[in-house]
């Protein structure tokens, strides 16, 4: 991870660490914090705890997002302090989920914009001039548009890949495929490195092809406290406890000292957390299908 972040994430970059609740790569975010990156434009539908931490330490110049909360548990307080004028300033560029998905879809297709039927009656376009309109060349209808998002680097966490980064994901797919194809550089982080024959045995599960991948990092538990379907559960207690930690900036600093700056890498983080085995997934293995002819 250290080498992948050092090589592919630069000060001033537009960075996407995607994953909708599922497969959020905290390991990559922590390494970016440790390496002291600055002036990043952080983009994600749901900034989640990892971007809150990155905002807290000053990695971010700007946040591009659509829902900034701690799902089911409360607020992202470092984010709120920044926006409510009680912390270091942070530029915002705000969409809805569909808008962010559309921006990445345009980016993945290398089109300059994407069209939606959306935003009429909302105040979002009033505060975000990037939300515009286009006239349908057939019906004359006026539709909403958002501009393509083409990040400098995207991190995708996947359950497994081969050494070339052909990555397979099951469970929630989020916008990882779109984000990866939209990006100049792609880092794939996996729970498990498998032989290419495993990938080739079930090609319909491949979400990211190795040809667009710049680095492959093997990092078990790399998504904790997020989760990896079939590997480990979401650490809901951590998310609930975060409300208290992040509300108090001193407590947040202590957390970061202990679990981010105070560990060398993900392996050390897992040791320091202790007891993560309690989150190990139960067995619910589906049957395979026949690819023969």
């Amino acid at each position: 991870m250290r080498e992948a972040i050092a090589a592919h994430v630069r000060d001033g970059d537009t960075v996407v660490i995607e994953g909708f609740t599922h497969l959020i790569c905290f390991a990559a975010g922590h390494e970016i914090i440790r390496q002291g990156r600055r002036d990043l434009t952080l983009c994600r539908l749901t900034p989640d705890l990892i971007y809150d931490q990155m905002i807290a330490v000053g990695c971010a110049r700007k946040l591009v997002f659509s829902w900034a909360g701690n799902p089911g548990a409360g607020s992202l307080h470092a984010f709120r302090r920044a926006v409510e004028g009680k912390g270091p300033p942070l530029q915002l560029e705000e969409y809805s989920h569909f808008g962010m998905v559309a921006r990445l879809s345009a980016g993945a297709s290398r089109l300059p914009f994407w069209t939606m039927r959306n935003y009429s009656g909302t105040d979002l376009p009033a505060v975000n001039p990037a939300i515009r309109t286009v006239t349908c060349p057939y019906t004359g209808e006026i539709l909403a548009t958002v501009p393509a998002l083409n990040p400098d680097v995207t991190v995708v966490h996947a359950q497994r890949s081969d050494a070339q980064g052909n990555a397979q994901i099951w469970g929630l797919l989020g916008v990882q495929k779109e984000a990866a194809f939209a990006s100049e550089r792609v880092i794939v982080v996996v729970e498990e490195l498998v032989d290419q024959s495993v990938i080739r045995s079930d090609p319909n599960r491949t979400v990211i092809p190795g040809m667009i991948v710049d680095a492959v990092v093997v990092e078990p538990w790399g998504a904790h406290p997020s989760y990896a379907q079939g590997y480990y559960d979401r650490d809901n207690e951590f998310y609930i406890a975060w409300e208290g930690v992040s509300r108090d900036s001193a407590a947040l600093s202590r957390y970061l000292e202990e679990f981010v700056y105070g560990v060398e890498d993900r392996r050390a983080y897992v040791v320091r957390c202790g007891g993560l085995e309690r989150l190990r997934a139960a067995e619910r293995v589906c049957a395979g299908v026949n690819y023969g002819f």
Binding site: F20, T21, H22, L45, T46, F65, S66, W67, A68, G69, P71, G72, A73, S75, F79, R80, V83, E84, G85, E94, Y95, S96, H97, F98, V101, A102, S105, M116, R117, N118, Y119, S120, G121, T122, D123, L124, V127, W170, G171, L172, L173, G174, V175, K177, E178, Y227, Q229, D233, R234, N236, Y239, I240, A281, R284
Partner: protein
């Protein structure tokens, strides 16, 4: 006499009864999720739950803490990308009901979940739209769950995240909005789009509802009465659906 159930329980039960069997519902987390699960356990076993995370036909074995919980995936009918959720399901018009929360809601059903105060330098920064803006625009009808409070039910909201009086859409119909509060149900007038009092909970009078609303609340000519939660509904909520009181305690 104090009722033997909490306001949160009542709101959940009333929201559940809003859902018809076989409907396709776009579900948020918290009380909306509980309401859907209650409906599935009672009168609407074929209710189809869709989450913006991509889980379709979810049958969660535990109460999901987030809309991306792994329990929504295991045993669901389909998991698709978020692009498909928003384009092929929602924008396509396949969602009959959208359930939304609200930090503020105005006379015309406009909802704010973005900021309290000015957008630039707000006094309280809320999470923002998530999928709410497009749910409000594309779902066939909208059910909002919110407690009566003049800070919530306002003449004007500080920011319109999700539009209320909704434009006529491709389907040709204007979807209704129903607001499930802790004391009554409000409903959008089909002509004006204004939220009016539609039904009262047991033991509540119209004045009590009006006191929690920041505009002059009109009401339907004939108010419906909402019955209390049944023993079965309460038992399901308390013992099966949210035994840890994760959402019902609030």
């Amino acid at each position: 006499m104090k009722p033997s159930y909490s306001p949160a329980e009542m709101m959940t039960v009333v929201a559940a009864r809003e859902l018809s069997d076989g409907e396709v519902v776009f579900v948020g987390i918290g009380l909306p999720n509980l309401a859907c699960n209650l409906a599935r356990e009672t009168h609407a076993p074929e209710l189809v739950l869709i989450y913006e995370s991509g889980a379709v036909g979810a049958v969660p074995e535990r109460l999901p803490v987030s809309i991306g919980d792994p329990a929504l995936v295991t045993g669901s009918l389909m998991v698709c990308s978020m692009a498909d959720v928003f384009q092929c399901f929602l924008q396509n018009g396949r969602i009959q009901v959208g359930l939304l929360g609200a930090a503020q809601i105005d006379r015309y059903g406009n909802i704010n979940t973005t900021v309290v105060g000015e957008y630039i330098a707000p006094s309280v920064r809320l999470p923002g739209s998530g999928g709410a803006a497009e749910i409000a625009i594309h779902a066939g009808r909208i059910v909002v769950i919110a407690r009566l409070d003049r800070r919530v039910f306002r003449e004007r909201v500080d920011f319109v995240t999700s539009p209320g009086r909704r434009a006529q859409r491709h389907g040709g119909s204007i979807g209704s909005t129903r607001v499930i509060t802790d004391k009554a149900v409000l409903e959008s007038d089909p002509e004006s789009g204004e939220l009016v009092l539609a039904a009262l909970y047991p033991g509540v009078d119209a004045a009590e509802v009006a006191a929690g609303v920041g505009w002059e609340l009109h009401s339907l000519g004939r108010l419906a009465e909402v019955s209390s939660p049944t023993d079965q509904e309460l038992q399901l909520l308390r013992e099966v659906l949210d035994p840890k009181r994760l959402y019902l305690k609030r």
